[in-house]
Each structure stands twice: as structure tokens, then as C-alpha cells.
Assembly symmetry: C2
Homo-oligomer: 704 residues x 2
């Protein structure tokens, strides 16, 4: 059985043994039985307890070994000291699935961590599957299952959301919030310490579970960054994945570490992974729920252009401002649409977009206006703003919009209603299954809409095939081997340049010289002005020791500078670690300096590109993506920072050769894919010459 | 009577004539009477209508002239064509205050605008005071007044907020939202077209009205930027002013223009004004209400350090992340506090900040923990996060916090509660006058808290006295006069430099030369390398025509370049507008180039400072403040962009002379204060030399 199939046995269980079931009110072991009963579990419940004949009216067993029937999983809420014994008993009873609610493991102390490790070994030994420990439980609201195996007193409204959370307590909060925004839950998995089953298994499980239409994650760490990218990239194409990952700040990271015992990853890595995989990262729960509400009720619109319908000018203008902040396009209303609107609206109404139907608007005027906008070719999404000003039409308008939604399935609608407190109650009576996302504030509606439009773009985006690069793998392998054999991690500048050369990464013309005669020959060949830089086995920061001389304009200057360079070398390189001197063409650069690089974080190579020069540390205009880079990844790296503007025509310099730059990044990615030993690559700077050509002018490669 | 006293007659009215009062349900003239009655107006209501004997049980008059009693204001809701006549009648009846609800003026068309102008003239002629036209009305919830002169069916909960809005319809939305977040309203003024009374009059009125503790504004334009800054700077010290100004985007601006007929100002100007005046600008209503909720319930904390108390790890970490995003300091718990907490909490609880009392926490544990934190020296503000996980203690915890609040008045508390939908209802019964701001999401709570802490800083901030600069006013006046007499707006480079010199603005050493001999003498004096730049009466973009030569290293080069420059000049300056050639010391700059400038927008001079060089347009790292600049304003200009990092020690260059830079900005401000004819000043670049000294190396001054 595959991991997924094993997980399915738990989530779609037909029988559960509750170990630690209790008759005492308020005890976790009692709450678990209550939840299973209340929610209407369709399978068999076997409470395990030696002291009672029954728990909440269900006959108990003294041990799982007494049941003698197939059990899909054991739900364990006994003190941690008992867990290893219980696993033995479960094995005897033939139980392969476990959910351990109990806590006190690695999240508490070292002893707990040791015990957790033993549990892990036992699980592996018996080929079992474990959710938890230290979790709230799980929920599956499939009508044929109706499994609520949580101890918190909550029963969710049934819907289409899959929620996996690394904070069990948060699940309760979320389950209370969801009905308030008319979102239902299909499955909830409290991940706990993820000793066996982790968030990636859950995502893969949901990939294949058609009842889950949207995946929400709250995580504090990423268990396996390579697998994360791979899985999410694939699953995200089928259903949206929205994640809140905490521990972004240094202090936040500390709080996470003490909270779940997991090592919080570096946030740049997380962002690079999310972005590369197309996962939507929200920074807080408010935005997560806003976005979920939109995805829960809207399809990807055929046409992305927005129309705003409002009965109050101010909120219309505010929504326009916000749409503009998010670069959402407003539809330009056609003459035809305008004429239709003029017929039904008073002359004071502004027949424009935003369409202000003014305070006196009736329900009919709203509905007719909405229909005219829906029916128009130019509008793809409608934002309906309603303020209770003269007539209370709030519920009626939603009713009408529901009808229009059926009639115009290609068009999407989002509502912003500022009305009386009892609106939700009244709405529930008239439109019990409301399918329109309704917000109180335009900002939240538009934030969610923007996510929908971003996903539209992502799904429509074509991924160009990667160009095939001719590379000299053997050359690189042998350089790496040589350094490894010598026990050296830092490649010399010359070796780094040779690695680049082997992968056809564009370099400023250069040669290596040991004597002034070599240098002169190279200089003649590549042409002045030139740069001299030392390639030393020990020294990586060449400039700091005076090992770089720029802007040498002619042979005379070369002679002087060569001598001065070697005078300086004597003072810092007594041991003779100098490999050679690089003689490189000086690229006159128009201040267009960039950096590119790769860093291995956890198991993943992360690529970066951005603004170089003096400004690297100051502006931090750098983008990150996880390797292997796709063509689109490379383009995003190039275009997503403000620095990208420097790649256009700037002050008489030609636009940079973007194709070359993109290929440079793809080649770097290929280089680390094919040479996992590489820990870091640093190209600082990459120069864009006046004619737009792109050159790496320095290189630094570090091995693991 | 002052303008404020006249306004007071309307807002604190004891009698109102409703012109256009109607017996027909749903009519504005009927709604107005209903509102006055329902809300319990303490004064006299005189409905004016020729066709009925009474309206809603109140006897009518055919005309205001028939009342023969003093009337504090007339509330007018008749068709716009009748308004001028009505003003005549009001004058006859001795009525000095008007609120015109009617619309169809400048917001509609040119005819409307003309009529509005005539109304303005009539108002001025009869020394009347007018709110509107095209407004929703006003509310004053003073218990002795209870005036609701609005036509929308809304009666606010009474509180301490003053709300002025340029979108009347929005007022209804807001009045519906406020009770949902437990905020009461004291006064609401729908500004309408602000033909007479504008938002600034209202702010000045509220400055003196002690019943208003917080001012909320929704505006689409700023009527008088100079007065705005002056008034808000003063009033904001007494009570917080929170503003949402729409029309930020280009499209948004268009929507505003069509909506109220007002010309939306430039958004940079608006921001500069808000920041200079210390006004809190929120970009959307959600954030405005969040902030208002915090200010409504919290005082400025004595100690700014935050403690987070939570029963769920995840939300605690998220709050920590968010606090860190806002640079809010978390309190470090003392050993003493930790010991106290350990005594009351289970061992699994993380006795840290955030303090995770874990899912099992009882009401007592919450309350005791909160009290320990309140009682500690290290904590100034407490964020209490509660999720309904095992016991539903939500209302109880709020009850307890209310008591703690009384006991520890110096400490502030904000709550984030994720609980069941009926929480508000249940809370209302147990704590009807809840004084704790309660949010659903940490992000909103922390956004509001951050505003409170910003205000704490603002109020604590000392404003250093401006240094006194010796300046040569006469020299500048005479240069300006000379140019004005010639009808020239653009000062030559030389004239601009002379103006700067007169105000002791630090310039790179320079002289003006007409001959090569002059140039050589100046160069000898200031030392090579030098720059040559032409000063021409017509040409302002000197570089574009080859009028600038940099990096001239010696006399020989000077001779060559001088000749070449004059050869070029011949080709573009046939008419002989060349004034002289500036010979200026070349500042070798370490790439530390900045821009500073002043621009007159509407009636205000706005100062800017930020990153210069190639990067000006790309990074837009520029800050704006309204003149006259205070010392703090100047410091904010210098320090608020990323560019400020370049002012520190960078790559072997000394930190910039901040005092000199600050004075440079203050001198620029003084220059435009004393010479209002100046429309624009542009210094690009200001160079920071290697030794940290600061020099303007170019200047451009434009007159009105």
C-alpha cells in the first residue's frame, strides 16, 4: 500500500478505536467520543478503557486486542509514557493507522524528543502510519464518513476546504471563523509534530481527493524544501494552495522554535519556494480567509477586467484606488453599455466605471445595472458595493446577484456590503447557500480578487521549454574533484571562471598570466582598458588586499601596475598561494551592475538576481527563486525588482540583452543541478555594457 | 461672531426650520422630520410646507417668515431652483445658519456650478453660514441637543467620535459599522460641496469642542493646503486626527473629479501635508476603523513594550511576526515575572513572550497571567489572544480584563478573539460598555496598536528650535526682481548659485569665468579637478547640449576643453544668451548622490529629499514634507528613505555631515518662506564627499 493509500485508511475510516476514552466530562478522552458521536461518524467507534463498561453509551473494550475486528485507526489520548505499549497492542490487533493526540514530546523537552524518536522507530518497524503526536485530531466531513476525531468542542460547517495546520489550537479558531464568512470545511488535519505524516503527505493526499477544492495551510516550517516545491508546483495547478507560514521575524522564529520544536526555516527560502511553486502566501489569517472566500465562490474569470457598481461615491473611489494599487484593470464601459445604463438610472448617476447609481438606487436599479454590466463584453468581474443609505435592499440584491451568477457563469461577482449588524442572520434565512463572497471593506474584497486574477495569470501562463545548453560537464566535475581531493572548499577566481566558461556563462574576455609578458599578450589580444585581479587559493576578497587594479589604459600603465601589484602580493602572500593573475577586459558599465548567485539552504538551491554595486546591501533589490529554474522563473528573477528598470534603455545605453541574461540564470541553475556539491555561487557584478551585452566579471564558487 | 461661533449655532441648535418637510413617506423631507423626532431633538422643529397642516404630527408653516421666532438654522431639501428664493426668505426671517441637502450643483454640471456660485454670493451678502449643498446632513449626539438632521434612516450609538465626510452616502455605511466595533459617534458632518463651511472649519470647531475626543475624516481633496497643515498640526496635538483621503490613483482621481466636482490634489502633496501635520493617514476604511477602535479605548501607554498572551501557539507566533513588521518592541519578561507565571501555569506552557498559556487554559489562568503581566514593570501593552478551543471563556475574560484595566490605568490592553459568531451578542449582555478594543485578527489589532505607539512617539517628541541662519535677503530679492522685470522665470545657473550663496547653502567651490584666463585663475584657486558648466539665460538642461565638462585634471586639459566647449556653444547659442561659464571644484563622490528640491503645489511649498544620480527615476527613494520645515521635518526627510543608509559610513567613505544636510534643507525652506515667488528649486545632485562633507553642485530655480 502506498503512503497515500495508508493515509486514506485513516481519513476515510470506517472504524476507530479511541484509546483513553473516558466517561469523565471535560477530559480529552470524553470529548473525543462526544465529537465522534455528535458529528455523526458513519463507522464503528470502539472506546478503549478498562474502568468503564461504556463511554457515552458505547460499550468499551479493555484493550484494542479484545476487539477482534478490523480497526482503521486508533485515536490515542493517553499519557505519553503509555504510547510505546499501546503501539505494541495496536500491532497485535492489526491496527496500521494511528492518531496521537497526546503531547509532551519534542515540543516539550529532550526526554520527550527521545520518546518521539522511539515512537517513530516503532511506527517504521510495524509499517504503521501516524498523524501527530501533539495534535488536535482530524476531521473528514464527507457525508459517508462524518469523522470528527478532535477534542475541541467544534463541528464545522461542511464545505470544500482542506485545512492542514501545524498549530492545532489554531484549527479551533479557524473552524469558528469559517461559518462567519460562509465557508465550509471538508477536511482538517492537525499536523502536530509530523513525526510520520507531514504536510507534504497531506497535500499529495488532497491532490487526489476530488472533494477538496482548495488547500489552506498554516505551517511554521517546511519539512523538505525540494519535495515541497515539486509537490506544490504540481498540485497547485489543480487546486489553489494558500499558505500562512509564521516565524518570519527573528523573534517570531524564536517563538516558533520554542512552540513546536521545529527549526524554522529561513524566510527567503520559504518565499522562493512558495513563489516558484505558485503557492499563494498570505502574511496573516485575515488575508488567508479573504482569499479563501473568493476562491470558494468564484471561478477564474474569462475576462479579467473589473467594473465597480456602487450607491456611494466615496467607497467607489476608494475601491478604484485599491484596484489601482493592485494593478487591477478597470473595464472601460462601451458606448452601448453606457446607453443602456442611462436608460435606467437618474441623470445624477455617473455612468462610468466606477458606476455610481447614487444613494437613491432601488433594488431594481441595482439588479438591472448589474445585469447590464454582466451582459457587456468589456466586464469580467463585478464588484458590487452596497451601503444602507435610504432603502435596505442588502439581502434582496444578493438574491438577485445569485440569479445573475447562474445566467452569466463566465462572469464573477464579489460584494462589499456596509449594512446593519443583523445582515448575516437575515441573509441566512433568504439565501441559505449564498455563493457570493461578501466583505465589509473594499480592501479585503480586492485583495482576494487580486489573488484570483493572479491565479488566472498563472494558469494561463505558458512555460517555454528550456533551451538546451552545450556544456562541458567533465571539465567542471574534474575541477570540483581536484578541490575536494585537496580538501579545499573555496574555488580560486581562475577555477571559478573556468567553471563558468565550461557552462558557457558569458564572461568579460580574460586570460591568466603569470608574467608581465603573458599579461601584455593577453591585453593586446582583448584590448585595453583592462583589469588585473589575482587568483589566489586562499584569498577570496581580492579587493580588500589590493589584489584588483582597474582601468589600465595602455602597456605603460600595465607595466607600472603589474609591478605595484606584485609588490603588494609579497606582503600578503608570503606562502605563495597565488595561482595566477587574471587579465580581464574592462567593461565600461554605465553603472548598470547586477548580482546573481545561488545558495544552498537546507537541501535546496536558491537562485538570486538583483541590483549590484554599492547598492546591494542598501536597497536589497534582489529576487529569489528555488532551483531548478524554469524559463519563467528566470524571467521573474530578472523582472520582479525595481532594478529591472535599469535593464531598459537608460541614459543613452542600450537595453540589456535579456535573452542572454535569462540564459545565464538558467545555466547557473543547470550548473548546480548537475553539481550538487556546489554550496554557493556568487557573481558580483554582472555588468551590462553600453551596447546591452551582459558579462560576468567576477566569480566565486564555494563547495559543500 | 466668529466663524466657529456661527457654526456652533448650527451644530448646537435649539431650533430648526425644515424647508421642504413632507408628509409623503420615503421623501427626503419626510425622513428629515422622522430623524429629528426619533433621535429626540431637544429643540424646536418647524416644518415648512404650504400643503399640509402638519408633518408627522408637528404643525407646519407656509414659510420661514411666518414663524416669528428665533431659528438657529434652516434645513433645506427643496429642488435646487428654489434655493436662492429660500435664502432670501431665511434672511427676512433672520436665519443665519443653513444646511442644504439638495443636490445638482457643481457635482452635476456647469449650470449647477453657476447656481452654486450665486448661492455662495448670497450667503456672503447676508453673512450666513452654510453646510453643503449636496450633503446628507449633520448629527450632534450631545445629550442636551440630540440633533439628527440627516435623511438616511440611521441613528448612531452615542460616543466620542467626530466624523466629517466628503461622501455623504459613506456616512450611512460608517454609522452602521461603528456599533459593530463598539464605537460611538458624537458628531457627524456631511461636508457636501463645501461651498462655505469646509473640513478645516469643522476641524477647528472640534478643536474647541471637548466632547469630541477623536476626529475621523473622509476627504477627496484638501481645500487649502497651508491652512490644513497649520490647523491639523495644532489640533492633532490635542486629539488624534485620522484621515482617509481617496483619489490616490490616476483612475481614482478621475472618479473623484466626476463625483464631487472637486479637483483632487496631487497625492504626494497630500501625504507631505498629513505627515508634516502628524495626521494619521489610513489607506482604507478597515484600517481607519481599526485605528479608531484602539484610540477610542486606549490611552497612550507609559511604556511602549508589548506582551502577547495566547492560548494557541500559532496565532502567538503570527502576532509576533506582525509586531516585528511594525517594529514594535516585545517586552523581555523579567525572572520575577516568569517565576510568578510558572506558579500558575502548567509545565507545557511556554513562559516567554509570547506567553502561550496553552489550549487548556482556564479563565482564572488567563486572568492571573494578564494581571502578572500588567503588574510587571516591563510590559506596557498587553495583546490578549483567545481562541475558543476547550472552554468558552471569551466573555468572562473580557470581564476580567475590564477590571484589570481599572486597576492598572497606565497599562493598555487590546484583544484578539477568534470565537463563535454570537460573541458580540453575548458580550453586550454581560459587558454592555466594553472599553477593550476587540479584533478578530491579530493583524488589525497590531495595526491599530502601532498607530497608538506612533502617536506616543509624536507626542513625546521634542521639537528642537530652528537654528538662526544669517542670510542675505536683499541679494536674493534683487535677483528675483531683476528676473521678474525681464519677464524671465528660469534663473540662470549662475544666478541660482548666487541665490544659494546668499542663503549660505553649501556649494562646491566655484567661480564664474568669461575668458580662459578667468577660468585658469579660478581653477588654480579652488584646485583641480574641476568641472565647467555653462550658465545660460535660456538653456536649463546644460548637459543635453554639451554644456558640462567634468573631471578636468590640469591646466592643459582645461585649455583643450575650454576651446571645445566654446566651439559647441557657437552651434547652440547663436543669440548669445550665455551669461558665463561656471568653474567648479569636482567633488569625487563615492557614488553618494542625492537630490533636494522644493515645488509649489496649490499654495504650498513641498520640500523633497532623496536618492539622486541615475537612480532618481528608478528607485523613487524620495521623501516629501510640507514647508515651512521644522527641524524634525528636515530629519525625517533625510532619514525616512532607504537612501539614508548611503549617508552612513559606506565602503571607506565617512558618514555624511547630517547637521549640514539638515541645515541645507532648513535653509531651502527659509528661502521659499521669504520668497514666495519661487515656484521650484532643484538641486541635483547634492554630493557627499569622501570626508562626509555635503555640497550642492548644481542649482535650478524657477519663479512663478
Amino acid at each position: 500500500m502506498s503512503r497515500i493509500e495508508k493515509l486514506r485508511k485513516i481519513i476515510y475510516a470506517n472504524s476507530v478505536a479511541v484509546i483513553g476514552a473516558s466517561q469523565k466530562k471535560g477530559k480529552v478522552g470524553n470529548e473525543l467520543i462526544l465529537r465522534l458521536k455528535e458529528f455523526g461518524f458513519k463507522g464503528k467507534i470502539y472506546p478503549i478503557n478498562m474502568n468503564y463498561a461504556e463511554v457515552e453509551g458505547i460499550p468499551t473494550y479493555a484493550s484494542v486486542t479484545d476487539i477482534k475486528k478490523p480497526i482503521d485507526f486508533a485515536l490515542i489520548a493517553t499519557p505519553k509514557e503509555s504510547i510505546l505499549d499501546i503501539i505494541e497492542q495496536c500491532n497485535t490487533a492489526g491496527i496500521k493507522g494511528l492518531i496521537i493526540i497526546s503531547s509532551g514530546f519534542k515540543e516539550l523537552d529532550d526526554d520527550g524528543a527521545k520518546l518521539e524518536l522511539e515512537i517513530k522507530k516503532a511506527i517504521e518497524k510495524y509499517d504503521m502510519t501516524l498523524i501527530g503526536p501533539n495534535c488536535l485530531g482530524i476531521i473528514n466531513a464527507d457525508p459517508n464518513i462524518m469523522l470528527n476525531a478532535c477534542f475541541a468542542p467544534l463541528n464545522p460547517v461542511v464545505g470544500k476546504i482542506g485545512l492542514a495546520t501545524q498549530s492545532g489550537a489554531l484549527a479551533s479558531g479557524i473552524i469558528n471563523i469559517l461559518p462567519q464568512i460562509r465557508i465550509g470545511l471538508r477536511q482538517m488535519i492537525s499536523l502536530g509534530n509530523q513525526t510520520d505524516i507531514n504536510v507534504l503527505d497531506i497535500i499529495e493526499f488532497w491532490e487526489q481527493d476530488d472533494s477538496i477544492e482548495q488547500i489552506l495551510l498554516y505551517i511554521e516550517s517546511i519539512p523538505d524544501s525540494k519535495r515541497f516545491k515539486e509537490i506544490c508546483e504540481r498540485v497547485n495547478k489543480k487546486k489553489p494552495i494558500i499558505v500562512v507560514k509564521s516565524g518570519r521575524s527573528v523573534i517570531g522564529t524564536k517563538a516558533t522554535a520554542s512552540h513546536t520544536g521545529s527549526l524554522a526555516g529561513d524566510d527567503n527560502l520559504a518565499n522562493a519556494l512558495f513563489e516558484s511553486a505558485g503557492v499563494i502566501r498570505e502574511l496573516n489569517l485575515r488575508d488567508m480567509f479573504g482569499t479563501a472566500q473568493v476562491f470558494n465562490n468564484c471561478n477564474i474569470p474569462k475576462n479579467q477586467k473589473l467594473a465597480i457598481l456602487t450607491n456611494a461615491g466615496g467607497p467607489g473611489v476608494l475601491a478604484t484606488d485599491t484596484a489601482s494599487d493592485y494593478n487591477i484593470e478597470l473595464a472601460e464601459l462601451s458606448q452601448e453599455t453606457k446607453e443602456k445604463l442611462k436608460k435606467i438610472l437618474p441623470p445624477q448617476a455617473g455612468v462610468n466605471n466606477p458606476l455610481d447609481v447614487i444613494a437613491s438606487a432601488t433594488r431594481e436599479q441595482y439588479t438591472q445595472s448589474a445585469e447590464i454590466l454582466f451582459a457587456s463584453k468589456e466586464v469580467g468581474v463585478l464588484l458590487v458595493i452596497y451601503l444602507y443609505i435610504t432603502e435596505q435592499n442588502d439581502v434582496g440584491i444578493i438574491q438577485d446577484l445569485e440569479k445573475l451568477k447562474l445566467k452569466y457563469p463566465d462572469k464573477q461577482v464579489i460584494a462589499v456590503f456596509m449594512t446593519t449588524t443583523d445582515f448575516s442572520e437575515r441573509l441566512k434565512k433568504v439565501v441559505p447557500n449564498c455563493t457570493i463572497p461578501i466583505f465589509k471593506y473594499g480592501i479585503d474584497a480586492i485583495h482576494g480578487l487580486n489573488r484570483l486574477l493572479e491565479r488566472r495569470k498563472l494558469l494561463q501562463q505558458k512555460q517555454p521549454e528550456k533551451p538546451i545548453f552545450k556544456v562541458d560537464k567533465t571539465a567542471v566535475k574534474s575541477i570540483i574533484k581536484e578541490y575536494q581531493q585537496k580538501g579545499m572548499k573555496q574555488l580560486s577566481t581562475f577555477a571559478s571562471l573556468k567553471v563558468f566558461d565550461a557552462y558557457n556563462i558569458p564572461l568579460a574576455p580574460f586570460g591568466s598570466a603569470k608574467t608581465i609578458e603573458d599579461a601584455k599578450k593577453i591585453a593586446e589580444k582583448i584590448g585595453y582598458p583592462i583589469v588585473l585581479k589575482i587568483s589566489d587559493y586562499k584569498i577570496s576578497h581580492k579587493s580588500d588586499v589590493g589584489g584588483v587594479v582597474t582601468n589600465i589604459k595602455n602597456k605603460a600603465e600595465l607595466e607600472i601596475e603589474w609591478k605595484a601589484l606584485f609588490d603588494r602580493i609579497k606582503s600578503f602572500d608570503a606562502k605563495g598561494n597565488l595561482e595566477c593573475v587574471i587579465v580581464m577586459k574592462q567593461i565600461s558599465g554605465s553603472q548598470r551592475e547586477f548580482v546573481a548567485g545561488i545558495a544552498k539552504k537546507q537541501s535546496s538551491h536558491i537562485a538570486m538576481f538583483g541590483l549590484g554595486g554599492v547598492f546591494v546591501e542598501i536597497f536589497k533589490e534582489i529576487a529569489f527563486r528555488a532551483c531548478p529554474l524554469s524559463v519563467n522563473d528566470a524571467m521573474v528573477l530578472i523582472s520582479s525588482t525595481k532594478a529591472s528598470k535599469l535593464l531598459g534603455e537608460v541614459r543613452g545605453n542600450k537595453a540589456a540583452d535579456i535573452e542572454e541574461l535569462k540564459n545565464l540564470l538558467l545555466k547557473l541553475s543547470k550548473l548546480v543541478e548537475e553539481n550538487n556539491e556546489i554550496k554557493e555561487i556568487d557573481i558580483n557584478p554582472i555588468m551590462v555594457a553600453k551596447d546591452g551585452s551582459v558579462f560576468a566579471v567576477d566569480a566565486r564558487i564555494l563547495l559543500d
